[in-house]
């Protein structure tokens, strides 16, 4: 069921996407975020303008300034704390009448100490939405652990760069699970640069360093695939899992290469559109939780459901109905529930 809208002018949203407009080797993640945002915008009748920073955070700050200086300012600006420049962008946008929503990467405590929290120092910064990466890490490790039971898990972790909070959060979730289970042990956690080649190199050395390891997890698709290539080189009996669930990784899962991927990160833009839609219509998300939302929606996609997930999300992605999550359209009193199950209801066992 599609919502029907009043005759009021459609709210205009600008998304300052840190990624590339077309895929040039850093993965499809940011394109997918824009893609599902557009799907949502279409559903909610909102105007979405996406400005790609092409992985250039300085360009991104300039884009924020440009948006802030627009005479015909948008209603909402969605930004990302990529390379820790969100505080500059927030300061730039503070001059604008547009409301700002921060997604995906939260401000660091240091940044918050400097500029304050939402709706405080910078009044038009209305909220922050992030995924619960720790929970995702914990879920992935739980799945991989079950797969290697009863042998116990000897785990090698390859996470992203230590300056990006999400890479630490994902690792933290893994640690939390491993500390709970007596026969699981973390051999080593290394920091990578999110790339395939680096991960492959690290995995090769780590597999030599820890011949007893039977599980590798990686903090994104490229690194998971890189680690998998190292495992295959050595013909090692090691399960490889990761976070991201981009098409290539999903295909690998489906083909029995990767053991599992944690999926859903790229829906963050769509969730932002849901919240802005509700906010625009007087239903402030702060009333259903907090101005800072840490959403637990990421789920493990394993071999059994990989093909189906792929089909639903990537082949027929335009038909995903994000209106299900709007509290303006579907009023209820509880907090927002962005469970993937609700839009992927064709998939039987999304864990």
């Amino acid at each position: 069921m599609r919502p029907t809208f009043a005759s009021s002018p459609a709210p205009r949203v600008v998304f300052l996407n840190p990624g590339e407009a077309t895929e040039r080797g850093t993965g499809q993640h940011w394109q997918l975020v824009s893609r599902f945002m557009r799907v949502a915008a279409k559903i909610f009748g909102m105007q979405l303008e996406v400005l790609y920073a092409e992985r250039d955070h300085l360009l991104m700050v300039r884009q924020a300034k440009e948006v802030a200086e627009r005479i015909d300012a948008p209603d909402y600006v969605v930004i990302v704390n990529e390379k820790m420049v969100a505080d500059h962008m927030l300061k730039a946008l503070a001059r604008s009448p547009a409301k700002v929503l921060l997604i995906h990467n939260d401000l660091t405590p240091g940044q918050r100490r400097e500029i304050g929290n939402e709706r405080e120092g910078i009044r038009n910064w209305i909220g922050t939405v992030t995924a619960n990466a720790a929970q995702a890490g914990e879920r992935l490790m739980q799945y991989l652990y079950q797969r290697v039971s009863p042998r116990g898990a000897q785990v090698i972790g390859i996470t992203g760069d230590p300056n990006t909070p999400v890479s630490l959060e994902r690792a933290q979730g893994v640690e939390t699970f491993l500390s709970r289970v007596p026969d699981a042990h973390a051999c080593q956690l290394v920091f990578g640069d999110w790339s395939y080649a680096d991960s492959a190199q690290k995995a090769r050395v780590l597999l030599a360093r820890y011949p007893e390891a039977n599980v590798i997890w990686a903090a994104n698709d490229a690194m998971a695939l890189g680690a998998l290539s190292a495992v295959e080189e050595r013909h090692a009996h090691v399960l490889v899992g990761g976070m991201g669930a981009l098409p290539e990784a999903l295909l690998s899962v489906a083909n029995g290469g990767l053991a599992a991927m944690v999926a859903g990160d790229y829906f963050m833009g769509a969730w932002a559109m849901v919240l802005l839609y509700d906010y625009h219509h007087g239903r402030d998300f702060a009333a259903s939780g907090d101005v800072r939302l840490k959403l637990d929606f990421l789920r493990v996609v394993h071999r059994e459901i990989a093909a189906q997930y792929y089909d639903t999300v990537f082949t027929h992605g335009e038909s995903l109905n994000f209106a299900l999550y709007s509290k303006y359209l579907h009023p209820d009193s509880g907090p927002y529930d962005f469970a993937l199950q609700r839009i992927l209801n064709a998939i039987p066992a999304l864990s």
Binding site: V190, Q201, L206, A208, R209, P211
Partner: protein
């Protein structure tokens, strides 16, 4: 044909050239070896520095790569290795992971040459957070080449060599000029002056040009020339003096060789042998085939004595004068060495001792006569001594006989005459009982009895004086009796003291001591005018001592002896017979002490 050996060539070089040659060799040796040592040291230092650098780099990388290797950050590892790679010495840096293999290799500018490399391998260890142990996660291999160091060493060696060569050349040049100016010139001038002095020009003097060794040498040469001049003058003066002494000497002075030839003689020598002058004497010797003035046997004997003793002292020889008169001479001589040949010449002094010889002969005759007389006198003295000893023995014998006789007479008087008189006294007493009282006969009888008693008294006294009976009871008793008797007869108090135990003496000794005491007391009574006499007999370990001490007018002991006092002589003789020592101590108006000491040995032997 001229022949130059290297040694001869070296010998004939000038001092300047020799010094320069020595300096050149020395400096070349020192500089060469120093340069070699410095270059070697430099080489060692650089190679050691290279080793240290390699070790430092390896250490540094092993620390700094721990974290990147732990996290397998190849980029970081590559960056670190690349940062250190541009050094021209670097051949290669390689990082390997444990169980894996090489992770990163960075080649340096220098191509790989396995022969000349310094290779350091260090483990890379990681300390995980918490209390986990250190873990070796890989190794870093640092390969540096020695070639660069060797190149710079070669360059340094060349630089050192050139520097040393330039310094040596400069040093040589400077020394050459300095030596030429400061040594060779002055030495040549000195040489010239010394030649002049050697040529007899004792007034020639060197010019002192500096205060260094050459200047001092010039001063010394001048001083030597001056001393030479002085000593030549003094030598001449001395020669003149000694010649005069020889010429004017009263002794004959001569020089004689082994063949008997006189080579030198002074006028006194010629005069001694009756020649007008030394030349005549020497000529006469030559004419007599050197058998004059010394006969060949005399010459041989003199050289023999000289050989045996090293000198000839006081040898007397009989020579013959020119006029045939024999003379005696006393000769003192020493050998004179000529060219190391021991004593080919005899240098002698000769004195005419003919007159002395005659006097000595006379003296010897007198001495012989005196010796004969002395022998005669000694014989006579010995006879006299024997005679005196016999007289003393006789005297002692006579004394013994006399004492024995006295003893016998005293006993007979005492025993026989005493008994008869006692019997007579008893008879008179019996007779008186038969006489009427108050009769003339009774009175007569009483008179008789008194006479008899007086006679008995006299007999006893005579006997006692001949030989006191007390002497039979020991010397102490006899002396005690003598003191009492002296007191009684002279009214001079005489006290006898005995100190120590009573001595046990032979009869002869006791009698002699008693008689000496008796004679002493007689002298006191006759001459002393004493008011008290003390007789002390002292017996101790050393022997017996009798002391008679009076407080009379004393006497001159020496005068009394010289005056042949028979009393004193008798006492002395008695003392001598018993080996006793008799001493008189007296002075005018100071009393007299007579001490008689008999030694313990004399007492013992006299038993």
């Amino acid at each position: 044909m001229m022949h130059f050996s290297p040694r001869h060539a070296l010998y004939s070089l000038s001092l300047h050239t020799k010094l320069m040659l020595a300096l050149a060799v020395l400096v070349a040796l020192v500089a060469g070896s120093s340069a070699y040592v410095v270059a070697e040291h430099e080489r060692e230092r650089r190679l050691s520095a290279l080793e240290q650098r390699a070790a430092r780099i390896a250490d540094l990388l092993s620390h700094s790569l721990a974290q990147p290797l732990w996290n397998i950050d190849r980029t970081a590892i590559d960056e670190q290795l690349t940062a250190l790679a541009p050094n021209p010495e670097v051949v290669e840096y390689a990082v390997t992971a444990t169980n894996y293999g090489t992770i990163s290799t960075v080649k340096g500018p220098h191509p790989y040459d396995s022969n000349d490399n310094v290779v350091w391998v260090r483990p890379i260890e990681y300390t995980p957070p918490g209390d986990a142990p250190r873990e070796k996660i890989g190794e870093v291999r640092v390969v540096l080449t020695r070639a660069v160091a060797e190149q710079s060493i070669t360059a340094a060696r060349r630089a050192i060599l050139w520097t040393v060569a330039i310094i040596v050349a400069a040093l040589y040049l400077v020394t050459f000029v300095l030596l030429k100016r400061m040594v060779s010139g002055p030495i040549n001038r000195l040489e010239e002056m010394v030649d002049r002095i050697a040529g007899g020009d004792l007034l020639a003097r060197c010019v002192v040009e500096s205060g260094d060794e050459l200047g001092r040498l010039a001063i010394r040469v001048n001083s030597m020339a001056e001393r030479l001049r002085q000593s030549t003058t003094s030598l001449r003066e001395n020669e003149r003096k000694y010649r005069s002494i020889v010429e004017n000497a009263l002794e004959g002075i001569f020089l004689l060789d082994r063949c008997g030839r006189l080579t030198e003689a002074n006028p006194a020598m010629a005069h001694l042998l009756g020649y007008p002058n030394p030349a005549a004497l020497i000529a006469a010797g030559a004419v007599a085939s050197y058998r004059h003035p010394f006969a060949p046997e005399q010459t041989a004997e003199l050289f023999e004595v000289l050989r045996a003793r090293g000198e000839i002292v006081g040898v007397e020889l009989r020579l013959t004068r020119l006029d045939g008169v024999p003379i005696w001479v006393e000769l003192n001589a020493r050998g004179v060495d000529v060219d190391g040949d021991y004593a080919p010449l005899l240098e002698g002094l000769m004195t005419d001792v003919t007159a002395r010889k005659r006097v000595v002969e006379n003296l010897r005759q007198h001495r012989d006569q005196l010796e004969r007389e002395v022998a005669e006198r000694k014989r006579t003295e010995a006879e006299l001594l024997t005679s005196r000893e016999r007289l003393r023995q006789l005297s002692a014998h006579l004394e013994a006989i006399r004492e024995e006789e006295r003893k016998r007479i005293a006993m007979e008087i005492h025993d026989d005459l005493g008994q008869l008189l006692t019997a007579l006294k008893m008879d008179v007493s019996l007779l008186r009982m038969h006489l009427a009282d108050d009769s003339a006969a009774l009175h007569k009888a009483n008179g008789m009895r008194e006479l008899v008693e007086k006679t008995i008294e006299i007999v006893r006294s005579v006997a006692s004086h001949l030989r006191p009976a007390a002497l039979n009871f020991g010397l102490a008793s006899a002396l005690e009796w003598l003191a009492q008797d002296f007191t009684r007869y002279t009214q001079i108090p005489c006290h006898f003291h005995l100190e120590g135990p009573e001595p046990r003496l032979s009869d002869a000794s006791a009698t002699a001591i008693f008689r000496i005491a008796q004679e002493s007391l007689t002298n006191v009574a006759r001459h002393a005018h004493a008011t008290r006499v003390d007789v002390t007999l002292c017996h101790h370990e050393q022997g017996v001592e009798l002391t008679i001490r009076d407080d009379g007018r004393g006497f001159d002991v020496a005068a009394a002896r010289d005056g042949y006092s028979y009393g004193l002589l008798g006492m002395a003789e008695r003392a001598r017979l018993i080996d006793a020592n008799l001493r008189f101590e007296s002075a005018t108006k100071a009393g007299c002490v007579i001490r008689l000491s008999v030694g313990a040995t004399s007492i013992a032997t006299s038993y």
